[in-house]
Protein backbone atom coordinates (compact mmCIF):
# COMPACT_ATOMS: atom_id res chain seq x y z
CA UNK A 1 0.00 0.00 0.00
CA UNK A 2 2.79 2.38 0.89
CA UNK A 3 4.54 1.55 -2.34
CA UNK A 4 1.44 2.36 -4.33
CA UNK A 5 1.06 5.67 -2.55
CA UNK A 6 4.66 6.57 -3.36
CA UNK A 7 4.08 5.80 -6.98
CA UNK A 8 0.98 7.96 -7.03
CA UNK A 9 2.88 10.85 -5.47
CA UNK A 10 5.69 10.48 -7.97
CA UNK A 11 3.22 10.33 -10.81
CA UNK A 12 1.52 13.48 -9.59
CA UNK A 13 4.84 15.25 -9.28
CA UNK A 14 5.68 14.18 -12.78
CA UNK A 15 2.39 15.51 -14.09
CA UNK A 16 2.94 18.81 -12.30
CA UNK A 17 6.49 19.07 -13.64
CA UNK A 18 5.33 18.30 -17.15
CA UNK A 19 2.51 20.81 -16.90
CA UNK A 20 4.89 23.50 -15.65
CA UNK A 21 7.37 22.72 -18.36
CA UNK A 22 4.73 22.83 -21.04
CA UNK A 23 3.34 26.08 -19.71
CA UNK A 24 6.76 27.66 -19.34
CA UNK A 25 7.83 26.61 -22.79
CA UNK A 26 4.68 27.27 -24.77
CA UNK A 27 3.03 30.25 -23.13
CA UNK A 28 4.13 33.57 -24.59
CA UNK A 29 5.83 35.84 -22.11
CA UNK A 30 3.60 38.82 -21.45
CA UNK A 31 5.07 42.22 -22.10
CA UNK A 32 5.17 44.77 -19.32
CA UNK A 33 7.21 47.78 -18.32
CA UNK A 34 10.56 47.64 -20.07
CA UNK A 35 12.36 49.77 -17.53
CA UNK A 36 14.59 48.13 -14.96
CA UNK A 37 15.11 50.70 -12.24
CA UNK A 38 18.07 50.75 -9.92
CA UNK A 39 18.62 53.40 -7.34
CA UNK A 40 21.83 54.46 -5.71
CA UNK A 41 20.53 55.06 -2.20
CA UNK A 42 21.13 58.15 -0.17
CA UNK A 43 24.23 57.75 1.93
CA UNK A 44 26.06 55.42 -0.44
CA UNK A 45 29.16 57.54 -0.49
CA UNK A 46 29.16 58.04 3.26
CA UNK A 47 28.80 54.31 3.84
CA UNK A 48 31.72 53.56 1.59
CA UNK A 49 33.84 56.24 3.18
CA UNK A 50 33.12 54.75 6.58
CA UNK A 51 34.43 51.41 5.38
CA UNK A 52 31.08 49.71 4.75
CA UNK A 53 31.69 47.75 1.57
CA UNK A 54 28.31 46.05 1.45
CA UNK A 55 27.20 46.05 -2.20
CA UNK A 56 24.26 48.31 -2.81
CA UNK A 57 23.67 47.66 -6.47
CA UNK A 58 24.03 44.10 -7.75
CA UNK A 59 27.30 43.28 -9.41
CA UNK A 60 25.38 41.85 -12.32
CA UNK A 61 22.16 43.21 -13.76
CA UNK A 62 20.17 41.03 -16.15
CA UNK A 63 18.05 42.53 -18.92
CA UNK A 64 16.12 40.82 -21.69
CA UNK A 65 15.61 42.32 -25.11
CA UNK A 66 11.99 43.04 -25.91
CA UNK A 67 10.88 42.46 -22.34
CA UNK A 68 12.99 44.48 -19.98
CA UNK A 69 15.71 46.17 -21.96
CA UNK A 70 15.91 49.70 -20.60
CA UNK A 71 18.24 50.35 -17.72
CA UNK A 72 17.24 53.23 -15.50
CA UNK A 73 19.63 54.43 -12.83
CA UNK A 74 18.68 57.01 -10.27
CA UNK A 75 21.16 58.70 -7.99
CA UNK A 76 19.49 59.40 -4.66
CA UNK A 77 22.77 60.07 -2.94
CA UNK A 78 23.91 63.53 -1.96
CA UNK A 79 26.96 63.51 -4.17
CA UNK A 80 27.54 62.80 -7.86
CA UNK A 81 28.04 59.17 -8.84
CA UNK A 82 29.76 57.80 -11.88
CA UNK A 83 28.07 55.07 -13.85
CA UNK A 84 30.28 54.02 -16.73
CA UNK A 85 31.18 57.22 -18.51
CA UNK A 86 28.19 58.92 -16.99
CA UNK A 87 28.35 61.36 -14.16
CA UNK A 88 24.98 61.53 -12.46
CA UNK A 89 24.17 64.44 -10.22
CA UNK A 90 22.21 63.97 -6.98
CA UNK A 91 18.59 63.34 -7.85
CA UNK A 92 19.36 62.72 -11.49
CA UNK A 93 18.37 59.66 -13.49
CA UNK A 94 19.97 58.08 -16.51
CA UNK A 95 17.90 55.99 -18.89
CA UNK A 96 19.73 53.72 -21.30
CA UNK A 97 17.93 51.44 -23.77
CA UNK A 98 19.66 48.35 -25.11
CA UNK A 99 19.08 46.63 -28.40
CA UNK A 100 22.00 44.21 -28.70
CA UNK A 101 22.39 41.14 -26.53
CA UNK A 102 25.78 41.07 -24.87
CA UNK A 103 27.57 41.54 -21.57
CA UNK A 104 28.44 45.14 -20.75
CA UNK A 105 30.92 46.08 -18.07
CA UNK A 106 30.84 49.57 -16.60
CA UNK A 107 32.83 51.38 -14.01
CA UNK A 108 30.55 52.34 -11.16
CA UNK A 109 31.51 54.15 -8.01
CA UNK A 110 28.48 52.71 -6.23
CA UNK A 111 30.21 49.32 -6.18
CA UNK A 112 32.99 48.40 -3.81
CA UNK A 113 34.66 46.67 -6.74
CA UNK A 114 34.21 49.77 -8.88
CA UNK A 115 32.53 47.77 -11.62
CA UNK A 116 29.17 46.40 -12.60
CA UNK A 117 28.15 44.12 -15.43
CA UNK A 118 24.92 44.33 -17.37
CA UNK A 119 23.95 41.11 -19.06
CA UNK A 120 21.54 41.72 -21.92
CA UNK A 121 19.98 38.47 -23.07
CA UNK A 122 18.20 37.89 -26.37
CA UNK A 123 14.44 37.76 -26.54
CA UNK A 124 13.26 34.25 -25.60
CA UNK A 125 11.41 33.41 -28.79
CA UNK A 126 11.58 29.61 -28.75
CA UNK A 127 9.96 27.15 -26.32
CA UNK A 128 13.34 26.16 -24.93
CA UNK A 129 14.40 29.80 -24.54
CA UNK A 130 11.16 30.63 -22.75
CA UNK A 131 11.64 27.70 -20.43
CA UNK A 132 15.19 28.76 -19.61
CA UNK A 133 14.15 32.37 -19.19
CA UNK A 134 11.33 31.55 -16.78
CA UNK A 135 13.53 29.21 -14.79
CA UNK A 136 16.17 31.91 -14.46
CA UNK A 137 13.57 34.44 -13.39
CA UNK A 138 12.55 32.18 -10.55
CA UNK A 139 16.13 32.00 -9.37
CA UNK A 140 16.88 35.70 -9.56
CA UNK A 141 16.23 38.13 -6.76
CA UNK A 142 13.77 40.88 -7.42
CA UNK A 143 15.59 44.17 -8.06
CA UNK A 144 14.80 47.03 -5.82
Amino acid sequence: MRRVASRIVLALLGVVACAFTAWAALTPIPSGPRDQLFEIPKGTWARRMSGDLVPILPDRIHLTLGLCDVLVLRNLDDIPQIFGPTLMMPGQSFRLPFAVASDYTFDCTAHPSGQMTIVVEPFPDTPWARLVWRTRQLARPTPG
Binding site: P80, G84, P85, T86, M88, Q92, F94, P97, Y104, T105
Partner: protein
Protein backbone atom coordinates in the same frame (compact mmCIF):
# COMPACT_ATOMS: atom_id res chain seq x y z
CA UNK B 1 32.56 40.88 -23.50
CA UNK B 2 34.25 38.85 -21.04
CA UNK B 3 37.34 40.15 -19.28
CA UNK B 4 38.62 42.34 -22.01
CA UNK B 5 40.53 45.56 -21.76
CA UNK B 6 38.54 48.70 -21.07
CA UNK B 7 39.14 49.76 -24.64
CA UNK B 8 37.57 46.60 -25.97
CA UNK B 9 34.87 46.81 -23.39
CA UNK B 10 34.01 50.12 -24.87
CA UNK B 11 33.61 48.47 -28.25
CA UNK B 12 30.59 46.58 -27.08
CA UNK B 13 28.85 49.53 -25.56
CA UNK B 14 27.19 49.77 -28.89
CA UNK B 15 23.90 48.61 -27.60
CA UNK B 16 21.23 51.23 -27.61
CA UNK B 17 19.46 51.61 -30.90
CA UNK B 18 16.61 53.82 -31.81
CA UNK B 19 13.28 52.47 -30.81
CA UNK B 20 9.99 53.97 -29.92
CA UNK B 21 8.61 57.08 -31.55
CA UNK B 22 10.63 59.82 -33.16
CA UNK B 23 10.57 62.01 -30.09
CA UNK B 24 12.60 59.44 -28.16
CA UNK B 25 16.32 59.86 -28.19
CA UNK B 26 18.38 56.85 -29.13
CA UNK B 27 21.07 57.79 -26.66
CA UNK B 28 20.95 57.38 -22.93
CA UNK B 29 19.16 60.38 -21.49
CA UNK B 30 19.51 62.38 -18.31
CA UNK B 31 16.53 63.41 -16.24
CA UNK B 32 16.57 66.16 -15.38
CA UNK B 33 19.26 67.39 -17.74
CA UNK B 34 21.86 69.64 -16.19
CA UNK B 35 23.83 72.45 -17.69
CA UNK B 36 26.79 71.05 -19.59
CA UNK B 37 29.90 72.08 -17.66
CA UNK B 38 31.58 74.79 -19.64
CA UNK B 39 35.30 75.13 -20.18
CA UNK B 40 37.75 77.24 -22.03
CA UNK B 41 40.44 75.40 -23.93
CA UNK B 42 42.58 76.14 -26.93
CA UNK B 43 40.66 75.39 -30.09
CA UNK B 44 42.10 73.78 -33.19
CA UNK B 45 41.21 76.92 -35.09
CA UNK B 46 43.70 78.82 -32.93
CA UNK B 47 41.14 80.62 -30.79
CA UNK B 48 39.76 79.96 -27.35
CA UNK B 49 37.10 77.30 -27.42
CA UNK B 50 34.24 77.26 -24.95
CA UNK B 51 30.83 75.64 -25.09
CA UNK B 52 29.19 79.01 -24.66
CA UNK B 53 30.60 79.92 -28.04
CA UNK B 54 28.30 77.32 -29.60
CA UNK B 55 25.12 78.23 -27.77
CA UNK B 56 22.29 77.92 -30.28
CA UNK B 57 23.85 74.85 -31.83
CA UNK B 58 23.71 71.23 -30.86
CA UNK B 59 27.13 70.18 -29.64
CA UNK B 60 28.46 66.65 -29.84
CA UNK B 61 31.31 66.44 -27.35
CA UNK B 62 33.82 63.64 -27.56
CA UNK B 63 37.06 62.86 -25.75
CA UNK B 64 40.00 61.09 -27.33
CA UNK B 65 43.41 61.51 -28.90
CA UNK B 66 44.64 61.70 -32.43
CA UNK B 67 46.84 58.61 -32.24
CA UNK B 68 43.93 56.50 -31.06
CA UNK B 69 43.87 53.40 -33.24
CA UNK B 70 40.23 52.42 -33.02
CA UNK B 71 37.64 54.27 -30.98
CA UNK B 72 38.38 57.80 -32.13
CA UNK B 73 38.68 57.14 -35.87
CA UNK B 74 35.50 55.09 -35.79
CA UNK B 75 33.51 57.64 -33.85
CA UNK B 76 34.77 60.60 -35.84
CA UNK B 77 34.01 58.83 -39.11
CA UNK B 78 30.53 58.07 -37.82
CA UNK B 79 30.04 61.69 -36.87
CA UNK B 80 31.32 62.83 -40.24
CA UNK B 81 28.79 60.62 -41.99
CA UNK B 82 26.03 61.87 -39.74
CA UNK B 83 27.09 65.44 -40.44
CA UNK B 84 26.89 64.81 -44.14
CA UNK B 85 23.50 63.15 -43.88
CA UNK B 86 22.10 66.09 -41.96
CA UNK B 87 22.75 68.34 -44.94
CA UNK B 88 21.81 71.96 -44.33
CA UNK B 89 20.81 71.19 -40.76
CA UNK B 90 24.44 70.39 -40.01
CA UNK B 91 25.19 74.09 -39.88
CA UNK B 92 23.60 73.98 -36.43
CA UNK B 93 25.68 71.03 -35.30
CA UNK B 94 29.13 71.41 -33.79
CA UNK B 95 31.40 68.49 -33.06
CA UNK B 96 33.99 69.22 -30.38
CA UNK B 97 36.83 66.78 -29.88
CA UNK B 98 38.72 67.24 -26.62
CA UNK B 99 42.08 65.55 -26.44
CA UNK B 100 43.20 63.41 -23.52
CA UNK B 101 46.78 63.58 -24.78
CA UNK B 102 47.95 67.19 -24.64
CA UNK B 103 51.55 66.09 -24.89
CA UNK B 104 51.06 65.15 -28.54
CA UNK B 105 47.82 66.85 -29.52
CA UNK B 106 48.64 70.49 -29.89
CA UNK B 107 46.58 72.94 -31.92
CA UNK B 108 48.35 72.19 -35.17
CA UNK B 109 48.05 68.42 -34.75
CA UNK B 110 44.36 68.62 -33.95
CA UNK B 111 43.69 70.92 -36.88
CA UNK B 112 45.51 68.63 -39.30
CA UNK B 113 43.82 65.53 -37.94
CA UNK B 114 40.30 66.90 -38.00
CA UNK B 115 40.73 68.51 -41.39
CA UNK B 116 40.91 65.03 -42.81
CA UNK B 117 37.68 64.05 -41.08
CA UNK B 118 35.49 67.12 -41.38
CA UNK B 119 36.83 70.65 -41.52
CA UNK B 120 33.97 71.96 -39.39
CA UNK B 121 34.87 69.75 -36.45
CA UNK B 122 36.80 71.51 -33.74
CA UNK B 123 39.50 70.07 -31.54
CA UNK B 124 40.39 71.36 -28.10
CA UNK B 125 43.54 71.07 -26.07
CA UNK B 126 45.05 72.64 -23.01
CA UNK B 127 47.27 71.96 -20.07
CA UNK B 128 47.02 68.54 -18.42
CA UNK B 129 45.39 70.22 -15.45
CA UNK B 130 42.80 71.99 -17.59
CA UNK B 131 41.94 68.83 -19.45
CA UNK B 132 41.73 66.78 -16.29
CA UNK B 133 39.28 69.29 -14.86
CA UNK B 134 37.09 69.00 -17.93
CA UNK B 135 37.14 65.21 -17.78
CA UNK B 136 36.24 65.30 -14.12
CA UNK B 137 33.25 67.55 -14.80
CA UNK B 138 31.92 65.06 -17.33
CA UNK B 139 32.91 61.86 -15.55
CA UNK B 140 35.29 60.92 -18.33
CA UNK B 141 38.08 58.49 -17.56
CA UNK B 142 41.46 58.37 -19.23
CA UNK B 143 44.59 56.44 -18.41
CA UNK B 144 47.86 56.22 -20.24
CA UNK B 145 49.09 52.84 -21.42
CA UNK B 146 52.30 51.75 -23.00
CA UNK B 147 53.41 52.86 -26.43
CA UNK B 148 51.57 56.15 -26.23
CA UNK B 149 48.13 54.59 -26.12
CA UNK B 150 45.30 55.59 -23.80
CA UNK B 151 42.25 53.96 -22.37
CA UNK B 152 39.54 56.56 -22.46
CA UNK B 153 35.80 56.86 -22.23
CA UNK B 154 34.30 56.24 -25.61
CA UNK B 155 30.84 57.74 -25.33
CA UNK B 156 29.84 61.06 -26.78
CA UNK B 157 27.84 63.76 -25.04
CA UNK B 158 24.91 65.46 -26.71
CA UNK B 159 24.34 69.06 -25.65
CA UNK B 160 21.27 70.91 -26.84
CA UNK B 161 20.98 74.43 -28.17
CA UNK B 162 20.45 75.86 -24.72
CA UNK B 163 23.58 74.27 -23.28
CA UNK B 164 21.91 71.42 -21.43
CA UNK B 165 23.66 68.08 -21.30
CA UNK B 166 20.84 65.97 -22.62
CA UNK B 167 22.21 62.57 -23.52
CA UNK B 168 25.11 60.23 -23.78
CA UNK B 169 25.59 58.14 -26.89
CA UNK B 170 27.50 54.91 -26.24
CA UNK B 171 30.28 53.94 -28.60
CA UNK B 172 29.43 52.04 -31.73
CA UNK B 173 26.16 53.61 -32.71
CA UNK B 174 25.58 54.07 -36.44
CA UNK B 175 25.40 57.49 -38.06
CA UNK B 176 21.63 57.13 -38.28
CA UNK B 177 21.39 57.18 -34.51
CA UNK B 178 23.23 60.50 -34.35
CA UNK B 179 21.16 61.92 -37.18
CA UNK B 180 18.00 60.87 -35.39
CA UNK B 181 18.99 62.38 -32.07
CA UNK B 182 20.55 65.54 -33.44
CA UNK B 183 17.41 66.25 -35.44
CA UNK B 184 15.35 65.91 -32.29
CA UNK B 185 17.66 68.20 -30.35
CA UNK B 186 17.76 70.71 -33.16
CA UNK B 187 14.01 70.85 -33.23
CA UNK B 188 13.15 70.51 -29.60
CA UNK B 189 15.57 72.84 -27.90
CA UNK B 190 15.61 71.86 -24.27
CA UNK B 191 12.55 69.66 -24.18
CA UNK B 192 12.37 65.94 -24.77
Amino acid sequence: MRTLSPLLLCLVLAAPVARGDDSTLTAGTFDPPRAAPDFTLRGSDGTDLSLARYRGKVVVLFFGYTHCPAVCPTTLATLARAHKTLGDAAKDLQVVYVTVDPEHDDVARLREYLANVNPTFRGATGTPEQLEAVRRDYGVSSSKLEAGLFNHSSSTYLIDRTGLLRALMPYGQPPEAYVHDVRILLGAGSTS
